[in-house]
């Protein structure tokens, strides 16, 4: 089936999906949804003929008849998910099969911070959303963002008041239960960090193996003047899951934003993170790790727009590809004419463990200012024989040496995660953990 036909099949189902769409009120929201769906219909689903989608073929996904998810029971969920939930005792919003679960969530409505379901905020104080919702993510250009904007039924709202310091990280949990039917959800998050606030926010996505699902997520983040925000996104969905996501970040002057993206799960997973440095003297740090095995396809994209002078961005993305996996990395740095004294650094590395794995990486620098420092380095390679020999010459068996070196490659990124409970959770997903210093024996390691 061609992408066009597949897309049509997908779209026919949208009529069913529309019935589930909540809230077309207040009127601005109804208009927004209508406009976004109109946009989507005109854009259609991307095909591999489009440069941005050249290496990511959606036809298999689009041939599936997805149904809107109903709220599921919370039993049978990944124990790792609960381990992380318990390790992060702060405010949280839990969506199960795309539906808000008040019983599992710990919302916050204090003076410094609001953490709640998007629907509840829409119902009780829509005025908080109107100036921001869909003002940042590119729904006019990006079909999946348009689709989410038109169809999102639930999501999360986080607001940090000016000067608020949120000590405990906020956790946004997305879980798919096991099910026989193919389901779709369009979770939406809006995160507003007002000037000089400080917080850490974790988004985690989990699922069960053997169940088909599509997560089409959009997260919009505004980092206000002088605010410091750390954002982590962990994706560990099931082996038949599809994940399409855009994270849109707008930074105001002197703000600092750190992102960690860890992609381990899913059959086909794509994450786009777009940073706009809209004020002077911003800093942004992007770390990313993906690990694809079997026939997994992972597509990780970053775009940093240096729109104002004297901002610094630093980026490290690493991918591990095993078996018949496919990886795509695209990192764009766009330095606008006004953005003098930009300091931008991008590094991406791929470790290819099998002859049949493939990776396409493309750094893209577009620079329109003259007083800038931009560097980028990209490598694709195998495990280094010198390092293997070094470990083996100390008595470490070949298989184990290989595990340690893969671990080391990944840990170079994981070690940068500042939130200890999250770092531990990721380490445990990568390894089975056999004591403090001995290192991995199982988990994802071969």
């Amino acid at each position: 089936m061609g992408t066009q036909q597949a897309g049509d099949a997908f779209l026919r189902n949208l009529d069913g999906l529309r019935g589930h769409t909540v809230a077309s009120r207040p009127s601005w929201l109804g208009e927004l949804r209508g406009a976004a769906l109109g946009r989507f219909t005109r854009l259609g689903f991307p095909t591999t003929r489009q440069e941005e989608w050249r290496f990511t073929d959606l036809s298999r996904m689009l041939s599936i008849r997805f149904e809107p998810a109903c709220g599921g029971a919370s039993d049978g969920l990944a124990s790792e998910a609960w381990a992380l939930v318990h390790a992060l005792p702060g405010p949280r919003v839990v969506l199960v099969d795309g539906h808000f679960r008040a019983d599992l969530s710990v919302t916050a409505a204090g003076r410094g911070i609001v953490v709640d379901s998007l629907c509840r905020v829409l119902r009780d104080s829509p005025g908080l959303l109107a100036p921001h919702l869909a003002h940042y993510a590119p729904w006019r250009e990006h079909p999946f963002v348009a689709l989410n904007t038109g169809l999102a039924t639930e999501g999360v709202f986080v607001q940090l008041a000016a000067g608020a310091v949120q000590e405990e990280p906020v956790h946004l949990v997305h879980l798919w239960t096991a099910a026989g039917k193919a389901r779709v959800a369009h979770p939406r998050a809006l995160i507003l960090a007002e000037p000089n606030s400080r917080a850490a926010i974790v988004e985690s996505y989990w699922g069960s193996h053997g169940s088909v699902s599509l997560t089409n997520a959009v997260t919009e983040i505004v980092v206000g003047r002088g605010a410091v925000l750390e954002h982590a996104k962990l994706q560990e969905e099931g082996d038949e899951a599809f994940h399409m996501a855009t994270v849109q970040v707008h930074q105001q002057s002197r703000s600092s934003f750190t992102s960690h993206v860890v992609f381990l799960g899913g059959s086909l997973a794509r994450n786009e993170i777009n940073i706009r440095l809209e004020g002077r003297r911003c800093r942004c740090t992007l770390n990313g790790l993906y690990w694809a095995r079997g026939r997994q396809h992972m597509d990780l994209r970053t775009r940093i727009d240096h729109a104002q002078p004297a901002c610094a961005s630093e980026e490290l993305y690493k991918g591990i590809l095993d078996e018949r996996a496919r990886g795509v990395f695209n990192g764009k740095i766009y330095v606008h004419r006004a953005a003098q004294q930009t300091d931008a650094k991008q590094t991406n590395r791929a470790l290819v463990l099998s002859d049949q794995a493939r990776v396409n990486t493309k750094p893209q620098l577009e620079i329109f200012a003259d007083d800038v420092r931009c560097t980028h380095g990209a490598t694709v390679g195998q495990i280094e024989p010198e390092a293997m020999f070094y470990l083996r010459s100390r008595g470490i068996a070949e298989r184990r040496a290989r595990q340690l070196l893969i671990w080391a490659f990944a840990n170079d990124v994981v070690g940068r995660i500042g939130l200890a409970p999250l770092r531990t959770a990721v380490e445990q997903l990568l390894t089975a953990g056999d004591g403090l210093s001995v290192g991995p024996v199982a988990g994802r390691l071969p």
């Binding site: 470990l391 083996r392 100390r394 470490i396 340690l404 080391a408 170079d412 210093s437 001995v438």
Partner: protein, 257 residues
């Protein structure tokens, strides 16, 4: 302990070692000197088990067992250790985690119980203190961003933890400052035992005045062209390698006692 017989080694089409004979007994310290490119590191790496080198002729026995048939990790577990001339950096893997895996692999092979994290940390802190190594280096990724001297000291630290029977130190002295050289030499001397042997590759007599060798060998274009006692190192320091020529030198000084 170690017997090398007529060892010929090449890389691709290039012959590097051309008939090495060497015998090292338990308790001895042998020094190997020789000009750049003469094959010293090649010999060390072949004994440690690096597979980029092709052995075309000859044999190596370690404790009576043919060494060349063993995997590098088996050699290490049996007590062979090489301090690398150029230690490899491994970003993302802490020195501690690495060495814990190594020590436990060796202990397991020797029928000893594995050390848990607490006992292991106590052990490495003690060894690090003895070698006056900055404890911060223990938690850092293996050799990543280490200075030249720190890397060399880290090699000796690993040796002190792993307690090999045959240790080959490939230019461990180059890159060390004067104080560090004394500390490292002390470390080596404190490990000298009747049951343990050392092969010390060096360009400098200075190291050999701290670690006094039983034998000194000169490697030249892939052959041992002279062997002698510790005074040979002094002689070389004075006269250099200029006078050495393969054929002539070999006649003048038989390689083996």
């Amino acid at each position: 302990m170690l017997i090398v017989k007529n060892l010929h080694v090449r890389v691709g089409d290039k012959p590097i070692l051309r008939g090495i004979d060497l015998e090292v007994h338990a308790g001895e310290v042998h020094a190997i000197m020789g000009p750049n490119g003469s094959g010293k590191s090649t010999l060390a790496q072949v004994i440690a088990g690096r597979d980029t080198y092709e052995v075309t002729q000859g044999e190596v026995y370690y404790e009576g067992v043919p060494l060349l048939e063993m995997e590098p990790e088996e050699r290490a577990r049996e007590g062979v250790f090489m301090a690398f001339q150029y230690p490899v950096a491994i970003p993302g893997l802490s020195n501690t985690r690495f060495l814990h895996a190594a020590l436990n692999a060796i202990r397991k092979h020797r029928g000893l119980p594995e050390l848990d994290a607490i006992d292991f940390l106590a052990l490495i802190r003690e060894k690090a203190a003895f070698l006056q190594m900055d404890a911060g280096l223990l938690e850092r990724p293996v050799n990543e961003g280490f200075s030249g001297g720190e890397k060399k000291r880290n090699e000796i630290f690993q040796m002190a933890v792993l307690q090999p029977r045959l240790a080959i130190l490939d230019e461990t002295d180059s890159g060390l400052d004067i104080d560090a050289l004394k500390i490292v030499a002390n470390g080596v001397n404190s490990l000298r035992r009747p049951g343990r042997a050392f092969i010390v590759v060096t360009h400098y007599q200075r190291l050999l005045s701290y670690i006094v060798p039983d034998r000194v060998h000169v490697l030249y274009e892939g052959s041992i062209v002279r062997s002698g006692g510790k005074e040979l190192a002094l002689e070389l320091e004075a006269s250099g390698y200029g006078g050495l020529q393969r054929g002539a030198a070999r006649d003048a000084a038989p390689a083996l006692p």
